[in-house]
């Protein structure tokens, strides 16, 4: 079985540059729970491709600006 990739994200930074968008606002925009945003920012949860695109759309940036991965 392939080793799991370590996926990082810039959600906290992107929220800051989006007029300090709150976790609550982001959760509402992408249709997720606040706890999911908390876990995403903490790197405890890796979203599906669909949710990842929704997050990128919420900030109006390409998905590559939100998520990155470190080589296994």
């Amino acid at each position: 079985m392939a080793e799991r990739l370590r996926i990082t994200n810039n959600i906290r930074r992107l929220r800051f540059f989006a007029d300090e968008m709150t976790q609550l606002e982001l959760a509402e925009r992408i249709g997720a729970s606040r706890q999911t945003i908390v876990n995403l920012e903490a790197g405890k949860y890796s979203p599906s491709l669909e949710l990842a695109f929704r997050i990128a759309d919420a900030f109006g940036v390409p998905i590559g600006e939100v998520f990155a991965h470190e080589p296994a």
Binding site: L24, E28, A32, S33, Q35, Y45, S46, S48
Partner: protein, 160 residues
């Protein structure tokens, strides 16, 4: 701590209280011995109580959470309370994944309980004992499911 973790803790407390009540009632039933019918009736009553407890915990917890949010985060802004409640309870992919895996943990424990109960009866234990092993497995399975839910929500147990 997330809404779902707190709700799971409330469920755990409810299940433990119900199991304790069952143990007290069961220990007080002297003389029923191997009367399967009376034990089955008692278990059915407690199964009904179980459903009632789950519904009551859900309702009380929902009200309690709204009051808590109003007191700590939204003060007197009711629309903000509603927003926070909605965002806390929203069903999303992480919750679905955690529920799926927690359900699997529950099913494994209940399945193991069935095997243990059958093995115990095959080795000479009474049918009543076997029935109680199975009942215990259902209770432990429910506890394991809720503990798993808390661990996954707080520790990111579901990786997507």
């Amino acid at each position: 701590m997330s809404y779902r973790s707190k709700r799971s803790i409330a469920y755990i407390v409810g299940v433990v209280a119900l199991v304790a009540a069952y143990v007290v009632v069961a220990l007080g039933r002297s003389g029923t011995g191997a009367d399967l019918r009376s034990w089955a009736t008692l278990m059915l009553i407690f199964a009904g109580l179980w459903v009632v407890v789950l519904v009551v915990v859900q309702m009380v917890f929902h009200v309690g959470l709204a009051v808590g949010v109003a007191a700590t985060e939204a003060r007197e802004d009711t629309s903000q309370v509603e927003r926070i409640m909605r965002a806390s309870m929203a069903d999303d992919e992480q919750n679905s994944l955690i529920e799926l895996r927690a359900g699997r943990v529950d099913a494994i424990v209940v399945g193991l309980g069935l095997v243990v109960a059958l093995a115990a009866m095959a080795l000479g234990a009474s049918a009543v004992a076997g029935l109680h092993v199975q009942l215990a497995a259902v209770a432990v399975g429910s506890l394991a499911e809720n503990v798993w839910t808390i661990v996954a929500h707080e520790g990111g147990g579901a990786r997507g």
